[in-house]
């Protein structure tokens, strides 16, 4: 009899992958605030300074623009820096380097010098960190040509997608989520390299498609399990890659189910869901039996107080309610 495969946390999967890539390729270096001695704000880099030394696991001063830009410059000379920004919120200080430089250098200079940099940071609210520390601005990056923006939702994807990101020759924004670090899952041994630009149907279903990413995938799977008990079959598409966006996977799914709900952690207006909905309008118009609905964060700077925070962030109940509404709108009864 086989033993249950071991489960590891998302955090551990990231840590293992960084270690593996540091070991494999001397061009890989890590940069970031408090990633060395302090072992990272969220302990993703725990133990790595000791193992690889300060040249390769480099603590930076609090200077996001400076060290993100430096990583870009180092990448231009062939290093493969992996930068950690403590949270997405602080990446805004580096946005000039990410958007005006990292995303531009390869194309604007006529394809002469790739910029193989990975910029990792967690997004997400729900930790009572108040408005400046709880944002989900991934669309800001997903909007920009020249960047690749990926958001794994499981430990296995965290490994395979971080490996792919480090080996990719373009700047990759690697979106993590505070709520995911402690989640567990089976992670296959050995080298795993995901394909950037591919979504995944993480649960097959026939009645309605939930399209989501990152933390939302866990919520969607939970909601799908609940609905399954009632005999309602939800399909869950994890986008995984926000740029490039794998439209075919969710289009194909919605064509089958004829009903779609987007679950997104970002704010509603101009969000991921807006892009998905517009895509479905084009690729699945004749297959829709109800309007596409979006479950997104309330459009306020996220308050600190728990009841307000809970009210503002999309959760399983919100998703379940909207799924029911869409099913009801098409006369669906299980």
């Amino acid at each position: 009899m086989n033993a249950e495969p071991a489960q590891i946390t998302y955090r551990q999967a990231l840590n293992d992958t960084l270690r593996a890539e540091l070991t494999r390729d001397p061009n890989v270096i890590l940069l970031g605030e408090e990633i060395g001695k302090f072992e990272g704000s969220y302990k993703i880099t725990a133990g790595l300074l000791k193992e690889f030394g300060p040249e390769r696991v480099r603590d930076t001063p609090i200077a996001e623009e400076g060290f993100v830009g430096a990583a870009i410059g180092a990448a231009m000379l062939g290093l493969r820096p992996v930068v950690e920004i403590m949270t997405l919120n602080f990446s805004l200080i580096a946005i000039d380097q990410i958007v005006n430089h990292g995303a531009k250098i390869y194309g604007m200079f006529g394809g002469q010098t790739p910029v193989p940099v990975v910029i990792r940071f967690p997004g997400g609210g729900g930790q009572q960190l108040a408005a400046t520390h709880s944002q989900n601005l991934e669309v800001w990056y997903a909007h920009v040509p020249g960047l690749k923006v990926i958001a794994p939702s499981t430990p296995a994807d965290a490994k395979a997608m971080l490996t792919a990101a480090i080996r990719d020759d373009d700047p990759v924004i690697f979106l993590e989520n505070l709520a995911l670090y402690n989640t567990k899952g089976v992670v296959p041994d050995g080298e795993q390299v995901a394909e950037i630009g591919r979504a995944a149907v993480v649960r097959e279903g026939t009645d309605l498609t939930v399209i989501t990413y990152s933390r939302g995938t866990l919520i969607a799977l939970e909601v799908a399990r609940r609905f399954a008990e009632e005999g309602i079959s939800l399909e869950v598409v994890d986008l995984r890659s926000l740029r490039p966006l794998d439209r075919a996977t969710f289009c194909e799914s919605v064509r089958r189910t004829s009903r779609a709900v987007v679950l997104e952690d970002d704010w509603l207006s101009y969000g991921i869901g807006a892009e998905i909905s517009a895509t479905l309008m084009e690729c699945a118009f004749d297959y829709l039996d109800a309007p596409v609905r979006r479950v997104a964060a309330a459009e306020v700077p996220l308050p600190y107080a728990k009841p307000l925070e809970l009210a503002a962030l999309p959760d399983a109940e919100d998703l379940a309610r909207v799924v029911r509404e869409v099913l009801a709108a098409t006369g669906f009864r299980s």
Partner: protein
């Protein structure tokens, strides 16, 4: 070859480069006005000595990052004038294949890693390039270093300070060369900088600074040489301030009404190109004839550059997505405005 003769050759060469840049920029100005060149176009007129002096100090193994005022650097670093002009014309033969234009000269082979249009944008990547050099190579007289050129106004941006700090704590082989042409666009250094002696601005980071005469290519070269040597051998960053002045507006469309006639006259009197010519004539490095020959040669080269640019093909719209990514991935967008979504099911 005696040192004197070698020096003479070098000086002649400096003059030739200065003349080439001068001629190139004057013609670029004309071409802009003839609508051959689009966008912004910033010229090195009046800054030729700083450009040539800095480039003389830079070695093959070194890397260069500059501002958008970069035509002279491209030429002096060794790019073909025709390909630089073609870039201005937006042609596919341009140094950046017509994708960058005036502000974005680039040649990976020549280690010219770009002119940057965002003020201060080049400073963190230049610092990172120095980090890569430090990570990969060992210090020594032949080690590579980075030269990061910037303007006086740029010393006020956060990226400048963050980068100097990084260079200091990480002991990076980089020289930040401020071309102090006394003005941002129209704002004087004194009005913009709490410490108008810009070479002192590295003091917070214990980065040594030095000010040299930017109108003298030899002085510029010597200043840069010394700092680059420290960078190569001691991994100590340096801050070099080159006192200069631009002869025309901030860009070709700027009439520069903000400066007084006397200011302009003073500047013209100090114009580094005729000044250096006179100096070389006086030192018998040049004769009137050899100077003319150099000037004629520059004129011919620039004329040929224009002809090359004119006759070069425009990039084809079909090449639009050619450099979307360095590494292709599935589902990369390829739609033109109004195209239906390409969703392959």
């Amino acid at each position: 070859m005696s040192e004197e003769v070698q020096d003479a050759r070098q000086l002649t060469d400096y003059y030739a480069q200065m003349v080439l840049i001068r001629r190139f920029e004057l013609v670029a100005d004309q071409m802009y006005k003839r609508a051959r060149i689009g966008g912004y176009c910033h010229l090195n007129l009046g800054e030729e000595a700083t450009v040539v002096g800095l480039m003389a100090a830079l070695r093959e193994q070194d890397y260069l990052f500059t501002t958008y005022r970069d035509h002279g650097y491209a030429l002096a670093r060794g790019m073909e004038p025709g390909r630089v002009m073609a870039e201005l014309f937006g042609k596919s033969t341009g140094v950046a294949k017509g994708r960058g234009g005036s502000m974005h000269m680039f040649d990976a082979g020549l280690h010219m890693l770009g002119g940057y249009g965002i003020v201060g944008g080049q400073i963190p990547p230049a610092t990172g390039a120095a980090l890569a050099l430090a990570y990969r190579t060992t210090a020594g007289p032949e080690a590579g270093a980075v030269l990061c050129q910037l303007g006086d106004g740029t010393t006020n941006i956060g990226a400048f300070h963050e980068s100097l700090n990084l260079a200091a704590i990480w002991k990076l082989p980089i020289v930040y060369a401020i071309v102090n042409n006394r003005l941002g666009m129209g704002t004087a250094v004194e009005a913009a900088s709490g410490e108008p002696d810009l070479y002192k601005r590295g003091a917070s980071y214990r980065i040594p600074g030095e000010r040299v005469d930017g109108n003298d290519p030899v002085a510029v070269r010597q200043g840069a040489d010394a700092m680059l040597a420290r960078a190569r051998e001691e991994r100590r960053p340096g801050l070099l301030e080159l006192m200069s002045y631009r002869l025309k507006g901030h860009s070709v469309v700027d009439p520069a009404k903000y400066r007084s006639q006397s200011e302009v006259e003073t500047a013209q009197a100090a114009d580094p190109v005729p000044a250096f010519r006179a100096r070389l004539l006086q030192a018998d490095v040049l004769t009137e004839e050899s100077a003319r020959a150099i000037e004629d040669d520059a004129e011919e080269k620039v004329g040929a550059a224009v002809a090359f640019a004119e006759n070069s093909p425009d990039p084809a719209p079909s090449e639009l997505f050619d450099f979307a990514y360095a590494q292709d991935v599935p589902n990369a967008p390829r739609a033109l405005p109004g195209d239906p979504l390409e969703v392959e099911l």
